[in-house]
Amino acid sequence: MNPKNILIIIRQAPYSSTLPAAALDILLTAAAFEQNITLLFMGDGVLHLLSEQNATSSGMRNISKALPSLELYEVKKIFLEESALHKRKIENEELVMPLATLSLPEIAEVTEKADQVFNF
């Protein structure tokens, strides 16, 4: 079976729902099945990338902690929406790791190329 192009988009802010954590679970499962995965943070989703999060008291998952390890899962295509940081006055230095950006036309393109899109 050929691997599928799977695009996972996280647009929701952290800690308001369990959807972003579900997105990470889908990603890890798809990675275990050696699918071709792209992870994209759009809109409020970029708030997951802030390095100064401390989720200990919330009992919820801090997705940012998993990101630097995803390379071991062969997930190497992790992007964020180009304008999302600027709109929220977030600097690159505040992020848990540097990520490549995609413009809206590029996002439209990866969306079209994906066999399956999971949009949270």
């Binding site: 275990a32 071991l72 899962y73």
Partner: protein, 112 residues
């Protein structure tokens, strides 16, 4: 500071699978005891992997699959040790489940 001596005579709760109920109960002595229950006497080779796994879990909050753990070992400890056979030789039968148990991590629930 009062002059005290703490000894290891404490009953720790395990779940149905033999994993620590409270992960914060874990320490080196607990690891030794958990290992003995699995018939393993911990050597420095075991500890090298346990420390690596614990560090990975603390940083990422992820429980790796066997394959990812082997890759992590290869990356951090070299290709010689980064083989499933090496992991199997130290933690026989169900290596991932056993090393997670001894390392005081949650039980791996994924099948892969």
């Amino acid at each position: 500071m009062p002059n005290t001596l703490v000894t290891e005579a404490k009953e720790l709760e395990l779940d149905n699978y033999g994993y620590l109920q409270l992960l914060s109960d874990w320490n080196h002595g607990v690891a030794e005891a958990l290992a003995l229950k699995e018939g393993i006497s911990l050597t420095s080779a075991h500890w090298e992997l346990i420390n690596l796994l614990r560090e990975f879990y603390q940083q990422s909050e992820l429980i790796p699959s066997t394959r990812v753990l082997v890759k992590l070992i290869a990356k951090e400890l070299g290709a010689e040790k980064g083989k499933s056979i090496y992991l199997m030789s130290l933690f026989p039968e169900t290596p991932l489940k056993t090393i997670c148990k001894i390392s005081g991590l949650p039980r791996p629930t994924n099948c892969v």
